[in-house]
């Protein structure tokens, strides 16, 4: 057990990747691959539960740290550790991956590479959340792209080539600045260790000169280099245009993870890197960031409302929801050290978690119906509730969670964000709250178009008869629904951990 | 007085003379089909002569013998060995020449000119020098025109003779002035009397110019090169090879000894003259080689340019420079003989001499193709063949002497050279005969060719890889000049 304790994070991190490699040598049997992947993906989840159990929310700093020499030449080490924020994200990731795998049991084309890519993707995402070394962070940040790219481009729908490339190029282009800024930090300080960098970077005298420019200018540039990289990933308006395409074209499980976890990477980057490294700039530019966030909220909502494609609708809703996260972050940056900041930030983290649950659930449900009807056009549906009552119930439940119905999880986090942001960013928050109205509008529009209204007879009979959601699919959505409900009613199980970490950090 | 040293100093020549007389005496008694055995006799005899000379005729400290006529030193000795090697190879290549191979006279002429060349390498007296140059040349005129039934060959011999006689006479005039100014014919004494106090640099320049006409002709340096392509093309191929290697090398031996020993006072002047000659030779030779379609003419122009490269070492006027020239000659003799030998071997079977005729050779006879590769890459100056090391050495000598501009000219020319040498190899390896069944048109090699070519190709590679002993010998020879 000692080994397990000291290497817990590494185990969580690498189990999926190693399992993927093992799969390479498994016989070519689709069932085997499915079950193997699913079984293996449960291991990190189980380990995460152990982690959660052993995690001491009251301790400051990072826990379960591991540090090995990795790239001596540029003083980068494999340094991982968790605090309350990353723990939440790890939990989200390890939870969603098995569900996504389970959800993709219906995939029958090249199952082996598909499952392998999922497992690699999990490692990539977990790495970002666990990394305490800037370079390692970047490594996993980029690695995650590859499996996602191939998942979209190989198993996606009609326009997948365009979408996958757009996804790739946007993200890589966005990361360019990050890469350069990371390099600059490495050159300046000779280390990539985050803990060290937090101190050294901030202790630089703002008036001194760096590379022929005042430190403040350098920092501002670096701030935006970071911010843009993460903003693309989140995505914040106006960098969001890749997202609807990618989501729409990705396979169901891909969308689940994309929305559920991948978008969180960007937000997590803000929390883990941008705010601690650039507290001053974060204050200065909080307004701009908030403006973008509000833009995301409003335009996301409008965009969503205007869609006729069910999946695109959900995709734009992600823009909208993630806008809140950024708003919270901006507020926390502006008001750092105050209770407002803590509330806003805790809300943001919780919102990340919540959106992970609801977006994954929504995409899954879209996928469920798409598999049966092979259309996502909202106008092709209508009045399906009588045909698929269980599915309808689940959809309504999940939509409500997404909408932020009190009693479900979305409400808690959005409320906290708004509450925390209102003081520092009154105007923006006010506009954002208007955006919230549209959130309700588009979600209701979605439900209305699918479930209510006149029934589209096409789906009622014959070969096109819509079948009810099956047991496997229920098993996928059930844990999500359970968590939505639990978090909505008793958020403290997770909020406690988040809040303590946030308080310690900001 | 005659001493062992005296005897040792001319031992090779005595042995060569003996071989020549043996050929002359025995040849009439042989039946027609046996007559090519004269080639075996010549080559074998030269081999024996080389061994005997190496055993008993090695020089010690440089010493003037026979009244100062010749200098018994390592420079002469090493070059003699090279010439004898070249002559032996030429004899082997001549053996299966349709018209010349069965004529004893050919071998006699070869040996006579060899005596001349040997003496050129060691002459230390103007009288001896002139005589040895002529002894080397006159039999070669005969050899160049040896194929009496062949219009090209007779014409080649005729032209070679006319230009040669003219050039050597001009040179002789220079010699006579040299003698007049210094009052002596001994090269080593000339230096003492021929100081800038006694004659003006302009006068020295005049003498150098006159002398260079003859020597430039021997080494086929521009502007005394115009005979070379015609003669190489017309002469029997092995003779052309011999002309372009041993004869040229002998010319360089004279240039080294004459200029280094007799004109130390006027170094600045004659090195500049040689530098210009060198640059012009390289450039003109290479540029004119570019459009050639006949392989022998191509080799002729290439040999003109090689005279230019070798001259860079002489321009350097240093021990290293001289050593690099000698080394260059060693490498070049092996290389160019190989090239001409291959041309001979090919045209003996096919009767063709155009570059385009070589298409598909690497399939018709892979060994021949590989040898072509070795020969032409060595000419181009690529390792691991002799040409590379030799070129590096002369260039190094040039740089050392601050003749960087000349080295740069040389380097530009090497690049041009690479182009046309590779062009030949392109035919050998890349192109195919129009009817595509190369394997049905083999190019067999007879025994003498096999022996000669293999020895030469091994020589080219050995000089290029294990260059140390060769350079050591060259350097030991060069040391004798200082």
């Amino acid at each position: 057990m000692d080994f397990l304790n000291t290497h817990l994070l590494s185990l969580i991190l690498f189990t999926p990747a190693i399992a993927a490699l093992v799969m390479l040598f498994l016989p070519n049997e689709d069932r085997l691959h499915r079950w193997f992947a699913f079984g293996v993906s449960l291991i990190p989840f189980a380990l995460t539960l152990v982690l959660w159990n052993n995690f001491d929310p009251n301790a400051t700093g990072f826990q379960f740290e591991e540090k090995y020499t990795w790239y001596e030449a540029i003083h980068s080490s494999f340094h991982v550790g968790v605090d309350g924020i990353s723990l939440t994200m790890v939990l989200l990731t390890t939870l969603l991956t098995p569900l996504a795998i389970l959800a993709s049991f219906s995939v029958s084309d090249r199952v082996k590479p598909y499952m392998m890519l999922f497992l690699f993707l999990e490692t990539g995402m977990l790495g970002v959340f666990l990394a305490l070394d800037l370079l390692i962070f970047f490594v996993f940040w980029e690695i995650g792209l590859v499996p996602m790219y191939f998942l979209i481009s190989q198993w996606g729908s009609a326009n997948r080539n365009y979408a996958s490339l757009k996804f790739m190029i946007y993200t890589m282009g966005g990361s360019l600045g990050l890469l350069l800024a990371v390099q600059m930090l490495g050159v300046l300080f000779g280390t990539f260790d985050l803990v060290t960098l937090y101190q050294q970077w901030n202790s630089l005298d703002a008036g001194s000169m760096l590379m022929g420019m005042p430190v403040s200018t350098v920092k501002s540039i670096a701030f935006w280099a970071f911010a843009i990289a993460f903003a693309v990933k989140v995505p914040i308006w106006p960098f969001h245009t890749w997202l609807p395409d990618a989501h729409t074209e990705a396979p169901t499980a891909g969308s689940m993870l994309l929305a559920g976890v991948l978008l969180k990477l960007g937000a997590y980057g803000f929390i883990r890197l941008v705010l601690p490294l650039y507290p001053v700039e974060a204050k200065i530019f909080a307004g701009a960031l908030a403006l973008l966030a509000v833009g995301a909220i409003v335009f996301g909502a409008f965009g969503s409302f205007g869609q006729t494609d069910f999946k695109r609708l959900v995709a734009y809703s992600s823009v909208n929801h993630m806008g809140f996260v950024v708003l919270g972050i901006a507020a926390a940056g502006l008001a750092s050290g105050t209770a407002d900041a803590h509330i806003a930030m805790s809300g943001a983290v919780l919102q990340m978690f919540n959106h992970g649950l609801s977006a994954a659930g929504m995409f899954f449900l879209v996928g469920v119906i798409y598999e049966r009807t092979h259309t996502r056009n909202l106008n092709d549906f209508g009045g399906l509730f009588p045909l698929v009552p269980i599915y309808g119930g689940i959809l309504i439940f999940t939509s409500m969670a997404s909408l932020g119905l009190p009693g479900l999880n979305g409400f808690v986090s959005e409320f906290m964000i708004v509450r925390g942001s209102y003081q520092p960013l009154t105007v923006y928050t006010a506009i954002a709250m208007l955006g919230l109205l549209f959130t309700g509008a588009y979600i209701l529009k979605g439900i209305k178009n699918v479930l209510h209204g006149p029934m589209n007879e096409h789906w009622a009979h014959g070969e096109h008869k819509l079948t009810e959601i099956n047991l496997r699919e229920i098993l996928v959505i059930a844990p999500l629904m359970a968590l939505m409900l639990v978090t909505g009613i008793w958020p403290m199980w997770i909020l406690d951990i988040i809040n303590k970490a946030v308080t310690a950090l900001f | 007085m005659f001493t062992t040293t005296t005897f040792a100093s001319i031992l090779p020549e005595i042995l060569i003379l003996t071989i020549g007389l043996l050929v002359l005496i025995l040849e009439p008694f042989w039946k027609d089909e046996q007559k090519r055995s004269a080639g075996w006799l010549t080559a074998g005899g030269l081999l024996v002569a080389m061994i005997v000379s190496l055993l008993f005729g090695r020089p010690g400290e440089p010493v003037a013998v026979l009244g100062g006529m010749i200098r018994f030193d390592w420079l002469g000795f090493f070059l003699k060995m090279l010439f004898m090697f070249a002559a032996a190879a030429t004899a082997l290549l001549l053996m299966d020449h349709e018209q010349a191979g069965k004529r004893g006279e050919a071998y006699v002429m070869l040996l006579a000119s060899l005596i001349g060349m040997n003496l050129m390498a060691s002459s230390a007296d103007l009288v001896m020098l002139y005589l040895s140059i002529e002894t080397a040349s006159i039999p070669l005129y005969v050899l160049a025109g040896f194929l009496l039934g062949d219009e090209r060959s007779t014409e080649a011999g005729f032209k070679y003779f006319l230009f040669g006689a003219m050039a050597s006479t001009v040179m002789l005039y220079g010699f006579s002035l040299l003698f007049g100014f210094s009052g002596t014919t001994d090269l080593y004494s000339i230096a003492a009397t021929l100081t800038s106090g006694s004659i003006s640099p302009l006068l020295a320049f005049g003498v150098v110019t006159l002398v260079l006409v003859g020597l430039g002709f021997k080494v086929s340096a521009v502007p005394f090169h115009f005979w070379a392509p015609d003669v190489y093309q017309g002469a029997p191929t092995p003779v052309a090879g011999y002309l372009s290697t041993a004869s040229k090398a002998a010319g360089f031996a004279v240039i080294l000894r004459l200029f280094f020993i007799a004109f130390p006072e006027f170094t600045g002047m004659w090195t500049m003259v040689l530098a210009v000659l060198s640059a012009v030779s390289m450039t003109v030779g290479n540029l004119l080689a570019l459009p050639q379609t006949n392989i022998k003419r191509l080799l002729a122009y290439s040999s003109i340019s090689h005279a230019g490269y070798a001259m860079i070492g002489a321009v350097a006027f240093s021990q290293f420079g001289a050593a690099s020239v000698v080394f260059y000659l060693a490498a070049y003799i092996a290389t160019n003989l190989l090239a001409f030998g291959l041309v001979m071997a090919f045209s003996r079977v096919t009767g063709l001499e155009e570059i385009t005729d070589y298409a598909g050779l690497s399939r018709r006879n892979p060994l021949l193709g590989l040898m072509m590769l070795a020969a032409f890459l060595s000419l181009a100056g690529m390792p691991p063949f002799g040409g590379f090391v030799a070129k590096v050495f002369v260039f190094a000598a040039g740089v050392q002497a601050n003749y960087t501009w000349l080295v740069i000219v040389g380097i530009i020319n090497s690049i041009i050279g690479v182009y046309y040498y590779l062009n030949v190899l392109k035919y050998v390896y890349l192109y195919r005969l129009p009817n595509q069944d190369e394997e049905n048109h083999p190019v067999p090699l007879t025994q003498p060719y096999m022996i000669a070519l293999v020895i030469l190709v091994v020589g080219v590679i050995v000089v290029g890889t294990v260059f140390a002993p060769f350079f050591n010998w060259s350097d030991a020879g060069a040391l004798n000049l200082f």
Binding site: - | V127, V142, T154, E155, F158, L162, L172, Y173, G180
Partner: protein
Amino acid sequence: MVPLSWYLLLAAALFGIGLFGVLVRRNAIAILLGIELMLNAVNINLVSFWRYSDTLTTMSGQVFSIIVFAVAAAEVSVGLALVISVYRRRNTVIADELDMLKF
């Protein structure tokens, strides 16, 4: 007494005439004649240098000229033989008509 310069100028003049013959005559034999004139010029040089040198007894100049005689004889015999050989094949000894080998 005749100064050395007179002999040298005579030799130079003879050399020049010989050179002229070599350069301008078309007939190979005539060219050879020119060469002989040049050789004679050389010999005049050699002998006169000998006569006017301080060391008469070394005889170098005279020996040199003897050797030149020998060489000239050898050269002429071979040369004329080649001329005849060419004539036999080509029926001409005009140098510029022998142009098979021209580039």
